[in-house]
């Protein structure tokens, strides 16, 4: 076991992928000598050279589109998109090309491309630097979407994304980049399946599902609720597409109550999908409607007021109160 930040864990995971798989390579703007604006690729160009750690022109469609071509030639490119709000020039390539290449070819072609996107708010940045566009990608069949919430998962999940034959969008919770945690680099343990949700804390009165940046918030809310005598189960979803509904359903059947928390706007979001599925799967076990905690139906607000926008402990506790009141 070693302790490291999430950013370092992704860096180490990428290093392991580049070492273990000669066909893997990294692509993105500023990922070379600078090591990425968040230094996630720090030092890798020195170690693996400029053909494996490719500093690209500033063009997101170009990054994703050429990665598709490299994948068609047998490579496993890992693209870095600098910020969530800048993925949209590459959205066409991701949704109309990357996601569909395998099905269009009747399974003859695979495009094992990974797209790393630092996402979410809470860093006090400016416009287009704090968005949570995961639902837009989750709606597209053919893509897999995962997001780690801790260093151990970050280290293993990025490698699993590179190994996956399907294209993977790897959302990195940027405001947790500096969150430290223990990483077992010998053994993934329960992290061996990146598409499985993890029960991080057991409880009996209600379940909170969160992922990525909101997992520490959900855990803190559960701890606060415990002081009020409430026993709250917390699930780290880890995979946004596919969603491990079995783990969530089992938890809801036990607790009877479900809160889904994410930073993205609630309307049309992942929380709504979870609420609908759980209503179908566990309707008779529910003691209260599924309650969503998330962003408002507005463009991501300016940094000076983003605290009002972001789900926090109090908003989750308020949702718990409403749920428990039924």
């Amino acid at each position: 076991m070693t302790t490291m930040t999430i950013a370092k864990a992704i860096n180490e995971g990428l290093r392991a992928s580049l070492t273990n798989n000669p066909k893997s390579l990294l692509m993105g703007e500023d990922i070379g000598p600078l090591g990425g604006v968040y230094r996630v690729t720090d030092g890798l160009i020195r170690e693996f050279g400029a053909d494996r750690v490719v500093d690209t022109p500033l063009a997101e469609s170009g990054i994703v589109g050429t990665a598709i071509g490299l994948a068609l030639r047998g490579y496993r490119p890992v693209c870095e998109i600098q910020f969530d709000g800048f993925v949209f020039p590459g959205f066409n390539q991701i949704t109309t090309q990357l996601a569909k290449m395998h099905s269009r070819s009747g399974g003859k072609l695979t495009v094992p491309v990974v797209i790393r996107i630092p996402y979410g708010g809470g860093i006090g940045s400016i416009e287009h630097h704090s968005e949570s566009p995961e639902a837009l990608f989750a709606h597209t069949a053919g893509l897999r979407i995962i997001t780690p919430s801790n260093a151990h998962d970050a280290y293993w999940m990025i490698q699993q994304a590179v190994d996956c034959t399907d294209p993977v969008i790897f959302f990195e919770p940027k405001r947790r980049y500096w969150l430290k945690g223990e990483v077992d680099i010998e053994n993934p343990g329960p992290a061996s399946d990146p598409f499985q949700a993890h029960v991080l804390r057991e409880g009996s009165d209600a379940t909170i599902v969160a992922y990525g940046p909101l997992v520490p918030v959900a855990l803190a809310a559960a701890a606060a609720a415990e002081e009020d005598g409430r026993s709250i189960e917390v699930i780290d979803l880890r995979s946004i597409s596919p969603i491990d509904f079995d783990t969530v359903t089992a938890s809801v059947k036990k607790t009877g109550r479900l809160i889904v928390a994410h930073e993205a706007p609630t309307f049309g979001g992942i929380g709504g999908e979870i609420a609908a599925r759980i209503s179908e799967r566990a309707f008779l076990h529910l003691e209260a409607p599924v309650i969503r905690v998330g962003g408002f139906h507005m463009p991501y607000p300016v940094a000076k007021v983003e605290e009002d926008y972001l789900p926090d402990i109090d908003k989750i506790l308020e949702a718990l109160d409403r749920s428990l009141a039924y």
Partner: protein, 402 residues
């Protein structure tokens, strides 16, 4: 990255890419165009490309004619099939045979081709079964053929998306070759051809693909068929300078070739592919041609262009001029042309019968290809669909008396 480690881009001494913009001295937009075989069927000369034309033997020249005639006949048959309701849509290529056969025949087996959606002639040169090609247009497949079999990628309907794939693929070739050279391998060097049209040249992806290709000196030949009309919008709305001149801005050679001259198209494409394979970087070829028919069978060109324009271009027909040349030079006799016609009819009959027998897939197969690895949601939805469908089995039996 590779910009430093891989070979430095540079325009060689041919002067290609240095031509003055169209409408300059002569005012004729096609003035700088490379042409070897004129509409009169006479072979001219060119300081660079005549040497390439000399490589062609009579057998190859007859082959070019046979290919062009075959794909035109195929095009007519597919258009008829669409009119008869056998195809959902057809994208005719008549008029562009020389651009496609000339360039396709210049490629080698190890090269990889990224077509747009009108490259039926290029498909023919890559030995793709043309009936497989029709699956897309019959609405029974979103692809149709195995792209890895003939190094001919699936058609791409989102304009220009494939130009980026081609550059990435070329970057992969570069890396493979570097490794092969380090291992002392003598495998033939490969390049990529990216096809797109004058309409697609306005898409951002074409720009980004040229930036990436130049930055990494990727072995890719951009082959733009300027057929003058992006559905109803003329080339003048897409660009204020001749398209081939854009290459200069990216730092690699651009060539405009008479796209109705199969010999010149073959020559410039061979030159460009050699340039790319030898590690000297990308090339843009603009094949100056004309879409004689509609954009697709859903289109009506009489609404946006004069028939005189079409008539003028028919006078530059790629088949007619090669036929004249072959006859004048005594390289083909009447028996040859009769055989070509007979082969065309045979192909048309094959395409017709094969198409009519192409059955739609079972809907369940649509679940299979969504992901390469097992996916619980797809499995769950398939299971639901099976159960749902099973509920109708009894009804059908009652209804049909089976």
């Amino acid at each position: 990255m590779g910009a430093t480690e891989l070979p430095t881009p540079g325009i060689n001494g041919t002067g290609l890419g240095q031509q003055s913009p169209a409408g300059g001295a002569s005012g004729d937009p096609a003035a700088e165009m490379i042409q070897l075989l004129g509409p009169d069927g006479k072979l001219g000369t060119d300081p660079v490309f005549s040497d390439y034309a000399k490589r062609l033997d009579p057998e190859q020249l007859r082959g070019f004619y046979a290919d062009m005639a075959k794909v035109r006949r195929f095009d007519q048959e597919a258009t008829a099939l669409q009119r008869q309701g056998e195809l959902a849509l057809w994208v005719p290529l008549t008029g562009q045979e020389a651009a496609q056969i000339g360039s396709g025949r210049a490629t080698q087996r190890q090269d990889y081709i990224f077509p747009t959606y009108r490259e039926h002639g290029v498909a023919l040169t890559r030995d793709v079964d043309l009936a497989e090609l029709l699956k897309l247009f019959r609405g029974i497949s979103n692809g149709g053929w195995d792209p890895t079999e003939n190094n001919f990628h699936l058609y791409t309907l989102v304009l220009a998306a494939q130009t980026l794939h081609s550059v990435g693929y070329a970057m992969g070739i570069q890396r493979d070759q570097k490794l092969a050279e380090a291992n002392g391998s003598n495998d033939p060097k490969a390049a990529v051809v990216a096809y797109f049209g004058d309409g697609a040249s306005s898409e951002g992806d074409v720009h980004e693909s040229m930036v990436f290709a130049a930055s990494y000196n990727a072995p890719v030949v951009f082959f733009c068929q300027n057929n003058h009309w992006a559905i109803s919008v003329p080339t003048e709305v897409q660009t204020k300078v001749p398209l081939f001149n854009r290459a200069k801005g990216y730092g690699f050679p651009g060539i405009r070739v008479d796209g109705n001259d199969v010999i010149a198209v073959h020559a410039v494409t061979e030159w460009a592919l050699e340039h790319a394979r030898e590690g000297r970087g990308p090339v843009l070829i603009e094949a100056y041609t004309y879409r004689v028919g509609a954009h697709t069978t859903a289109d009506d060109p009489t609404k946006y262009r004069e028939s005189a324009e079409e008539t003028a271009w028919r006078g530059k027909d790629p088949l007619d001029r090669l036929e004249k040349y072959l006859r004048n030079e005594g390289l083909a006799d009447e028996a040859f042309f009769e055989q070509v016609r007979a082969d065309g009819d045979k192909l048309a009959a094959h395409v017709r019968s094969t198409t009519q027998n192409l059955r739609g897939p079972n809907f369940r197969e649509s679940f299979a290809g969504v992901y390469a690895e097992p996916h619980p949601l797809v499995a769950e939805e398939l299971a639901w669909f099976e159960e749902y469908s099973a509920g109708f089995e009894g009804d059908e039996e009652e209804g049909t008396g089976n």
